[in-house]
C-alpha cells in the first residue's frame, strides 16, 4: 500500500486516543398521516402529487402527459404503459446518450418508498430504470405505493435494511431540480427535471 496511506494512518494512530462518545438519544419525528405530511412537504418544494388507484393510474398518467404536451416518454416495458411514442432505456448510455440528453420529454420510474418527514422519494435505479432516467428528461414521473411511506429516513433505512446491501446508487429525491444561486431566487430545472410528478398508488 502507498506510503501516503501509511504516513497518514501512522500520524492518526500516534495522536491521543479519545474515548468515542456514545450517541445521545434523538428521535426523528413520526406522523399520524404520513401521506399527508409527504404531500405537504413535496408540494412545498414544487413537486406535484396525484392520488390514484392502483388500477387506473395508467389512464390518469396518459391524461397528465397529454395535458403537458409530452411527446416521447421513457419507461420500462414492464410498467405496461400505453403511449404512442415510448422508448425503453434498454441500451448502455454510450449508445443512448444523445436521445437521453435532449430527445425525451418525460420519464416514468418506480420508487422504493418515500419519507414523510422531508417529502422525499427513495429511488433505487436498476437495469430497467437506470440512473439517468430520473435525471435527464425535463419531466420525471415517479410511482409510489401509498403503503411505502415511512416516517423518516432512519426508519426507512432500517426497515428496508439498506446498510446490508447498498445498491450501486441510491437516491433521495425531494422535488424537481432547483437552484437559488442567482440572488437567492429559486429557479427550477437547472440541470435535472423541471417537473416532478408523483403518482401515489392507493
Amino acid at each position: 500500500m502507498s506510503e501516503a496511506r501509511a504516513n497518514i494512518l501512522a500520524r492518526l494512530r500516534a495522536a491521543p486516543r479519545l474515548q468515542p462518545p456514545e450517541r445521545p438519544q434523538w428521535q426523528a419525528p413520526g406522523f399520524n398521516d404520513r401521506l399527508d405530511r409527504f404531500r405537504v412537504m413535496i408540494e412545498a418544494v414544487h413537486g406535484e402529487v396525484h392520488l390514484v388507484s392502483a388500477d387506473t393510474w395508467r389512464a390518469h398518467l396518459r391524461k397528465v402527459l397529454a395535458e403537458k404536451n409530452v411527446a416521447r416518454v421513457l419507461a420500462a416495458p414492464h410498467l405496461g404503459l400505453d403511449w404512442d411514442d415510448m422508448v425503453a432505456y434498454d441500451a448502455p448510455v454510450e449508445d443512448f446518450k444523445d436521445q437521453l440528453v435532449s430527445g425525451i420529454d418525460a420519464a416514468v420510474t418506480t420508487t422504493r418508498g418515500a419519507i414523510a418527514e422531508t417529502g422525499s422519494l427513495v429511488v433505487v435505479p436498476d437495469m430497467d430504470e437506470p440512473r439517468l432516467a430520473s435525471l435527464l428528461p425535463p419531466i420525471h414521473v415517479a410511482l409510489l405505493n401509498a403503503g411505502d411511506i415511512a416516517d423518516n429516513l432512519a426508519q426507512i433505512m432500517e426497515k428496508q435494511g439498506w446498510a446490508a446491501a447498498m445498491p450501486t446508487n441510491l437516491l433521495l429525491i425531494s422535488g424537481p431540480s432547483k437552484t437559488a444561486d442567482i440572488e437567492q431566487t429559486l429557479a427550477y430545472g437547472v440541470h435535472g427535471p423541471k417537473e416532478l410528478i408523483v403518482l401515489v398508488l392507493q
Partner: protein, 473 residues
C-alpha cells in the same frame, strides 16, 4: 497563501453593492434556518447527536478509514491517499491521463478548491468545467467562491447577466433568473455530454458500507457522477462516519442549517461503479482521500474538534464580521468562522495568523454550529499559540505572532492588575490624568475614529464603595 484581512476588509466595506448583497442574503438565510429549528428541545437533542456522531467517528478515525477502504475496494471503488494537495492533484491528473481524458465536468467540491485543482489541470491541458450554477458563474468571472455553500452570493443579477452575455454565444442581456438558468442548463448539458470524466466531492463517507454520500439541489452532482465514463471524488479524511444510520441525523442538520431547507433536492449515495448489466454510471470510480494537515490538527485534542465540521456554512451566515466583509476578504478557500479556525491550522499561523483575530468572539457561530464546534475557544487557542511559542506539534507556525512589545504590555498589565496595591495606585492615577490622553494617541486613535473618547470617572468604584460604607470582607 498570505493573508491581509484588514486591507481587503477596507475594500469590501467601501463597496456598498457588495455589502448590500451580503447583508440581504445572510438575513434571508438566518430567517430560513431559524424556521427549521423552532422546536428547541429537538434541536438540542439533534445537534448533540450530530456532534457525538462526528466526535465518535474522529475518535475511531484510523480504524474507520481502513474499514471504509476495505469496503469501498470490495465494492469496486479505487481508493487513493494524498498527504498534500500536490499529491492529490498528481493522483487526479494521473487517473485522467491514463484515461486520455481532455475534459472534466465538476460538481461542487470545496476540497477541489482547496487543491486548486482546476489550475493544475489547465496547466496540463485538461479543461475543468464547473457545473454547479454558482461555481460556473464564478468560473466565468475568474473568481474564487465567496461562500462555501453559495459560491457566487456576492454577485447580483446584473453582474451575472453581463457575464453570460460576454461568455455565452448568442446570449442576449437579461436579468430574468429563469432565462439565465435556462441558458446555463443548455451550455452545461453539452459539456456534460462530451465530458470524459466527472469530478465531485463527498459530504459523508460511510465506513460500514463503503459509500459516498453527496447532497445537492441542482442535479449537476448526480450528472457529474453518472454520465461520464469515469468518476473521481476528492474528500478530506475527516468525512468518515461509522454507520449508514449516522447519516440520518447529519442530514437532518446539514441542509436545514445551511439554507433552511428540510432536505436538499438530491441525496446521492454511491457505493460502486457500474455493475455488469447496468446501463449507466461510470465504469470506474476513484476516491482520493486528502490529508493536507488534517492529521496534524488531529494530534491535538481540542483542535481536533475543528474536523467535525460538515461544511454547512451556518457559521458564516450568522457571523457579523462575514456578513459585512464577505468571503473574499478572508483570502482563503474557507471563509467565515470555520475559515478563521481551519485556514490557520491547515496553512499555518505563520501564513494566516491575522484570521483568528478577525473576530469579536461574539459566539453567534457557536450558537448555530450543528456539530457544536467550540469555534470561539479555538480562536482564542490559536491566538495563544500565535503569541507564545508552543510545544504543540499540532500547530504549524506557533509563536509566529509573537511580539516583544505586545508581550511587554501584557506583562505590565499583569504587574498592575494582579497586585491590589499596584492596582489602587494605577487606577487612581488614571482617574486623575487619564482624560488628558489625547484622542489621537495610539490605539485610542482607532477607537475615536467613530466614537467619542471614553471618560475616566473622577472616582473609581473602589473609592465609591468605601465611601458608601460597603464592607470589603
Amino acid at each position: 497563501m498570505t493573508s491581509d484581512f484588514s486591507t481587503r476588509a477596507h475594500d469590501a466595506l467601501n463597496n456598498p453593492q457588495l455589502r448590500a448583497n451580503f447583508r440581504r442574503a445572510m438575513d434571508g438565510l438566518m430567517t430560513k434556518r431559524a424556521a427549521q429549528f423552532e422546536d428547541k428541545d429537538n434541536w438540542h437533542a439533534l445537534r448533540a447527536r450530530g456532534a457525538a456522531i462526528k466526535a465518535r467517528a474522529l475518535a475511531r478515525l484510523p480504524d474507520l478509514l481502513e474499514e471504509f477502504e476495505q469496503k469501498a475496494i470490495a465494492n469496486g471503488i479505487n481508493v487513493h491517499w494524498a498527504e498534500t494537495t500536490a499529491d492529490a492533484n498528481r493522483i487526479v491528473l494521473e487517473i485522467l491521463t491514463a484515461h486520455g481524458a481532455k475534459k472534466v465536468i465538476k460538481g461542487k467540491s470545496m476540497v477541489s478548491e482547496e487543491m486548486h485543482l482546476n489550475a493544475h489541470l489547465e496547466a496540463h491541458g485538461i479543461k475543468a468545467v464547473e457545473s454547479d450554477l454558482g461555481e460556473y458563474i464564478i468560473q466565468l468571472a475568474g473568481e474564487a467562491p465567496s461562500h462555501i455553500v453559495m459560491p457566487c452570493i456576492h454577485k447580483n443579477k446584473g453582474e451575472i447577466a453581463q457575464l453570460f452575455t460576454d461568455n455565452i454565444e448568442n446570449q442576449p442581456y437579461t436579468e430574468d433568473v429563469d432565462a439565465l438558468t435556462a441558458a446555463a442548463r443548455q451550455v452545461l448539458r453539452r459539456e456534460f455530454a462530451s465530458a470524459d470524466a466527472g469530478l465531485s466531492g463527498a459530504n459523508f463517507l460511510v465506513a460500514e458500507t463503503g459509500s459516498l454520500v453527496l447532497i445537492e439541489n441542482e442535479g449537476n452532482g448526480r450528472l457529474s457522477t453518472t454520465l461520464p465514463p469515469l468518476h473521481i471524488a476528492v474528500a478530506g479524511i475527516e468525512k468518515l462516519v461509522e454507520k449508514l444510520d449516522d447519516v440520518a441525523p447529519l442530514l437532518a442538520l446539514l441542509p436545514r442549517s445551511a439554507t433552511g431547507q428540510a432536505i436538499t433536492t438530491y441525496v446521492n449515495m454511491i457505493s460502486s461503479p457500474r455493475k455488469a448489466g447496468e446501463k449507466d454510471g461510470p465504469r470506474q470510480v476513484h476516491l482520493v482521500l486528502l490529508d493536507n494537515g488534517r492529521s496534524r490538527v488531529y494530534a491535538d485534542e481540542q483542535l481536533r474538534d475543528t474536523l467535525r465540521c460538515i461544511r454547512c456554512g451556518a457559521c458564516m451566515n450568522h457571523c457579523p464580521v462575514y456578513s459585512r466583509v464577505g468571503g473574499h476578504t478572508y483570502g482563503s478557500v474557507y471563509p467565515g468562522p470555520i475559515g478563521k479556525i481551519l485556514t490557520p491550522q491547515l496553512a499555518g499561523l505563520d501564513c494566516a495568523g491575522d484570521l483568528p483575530h478577525a473576530s469579536t468572539l461574539c459566539n453567534a457561530c457557536v450558537e448555530v454550529c450543528p456539530v457544536q464546534i467550540p469555534i470561539a475557544d479555538i480562536l482564542v487557542r490559536l491566538r495563544t499559540e500565535a503569541a507564545e511559542p508552543s510545544t504543540s506539534p499540532a500547530v504549524k507556525g506557533a509563536g509566529s505572532g509573537h511580539s516583544a512589545v505586545e508581550s511587554a504590555v501584557w506583562k505590565g498589565w499583569q504587574a498592575m492588575y494582579a497586585h491590589p496595591a499596584a492596582y489602587k495606585v494605577g487606577t487612581k492615577a488614571l482617574s486623575v490624568v487619564g482624560n488628558l490622553i489625547p484622542a489621537a494617541a495610539p490605539l485610542l486613535k482607532q477607537w475615536t475614529s467613530v466614537r467619542s473618547k471614553p471618560k475616566f470617572a473622577a472616582k473609581t468604584l473602589h473609592e465609591l464603595a468605601r465611601e458608601k460604607g460597603y464592607d470589603h470582607e
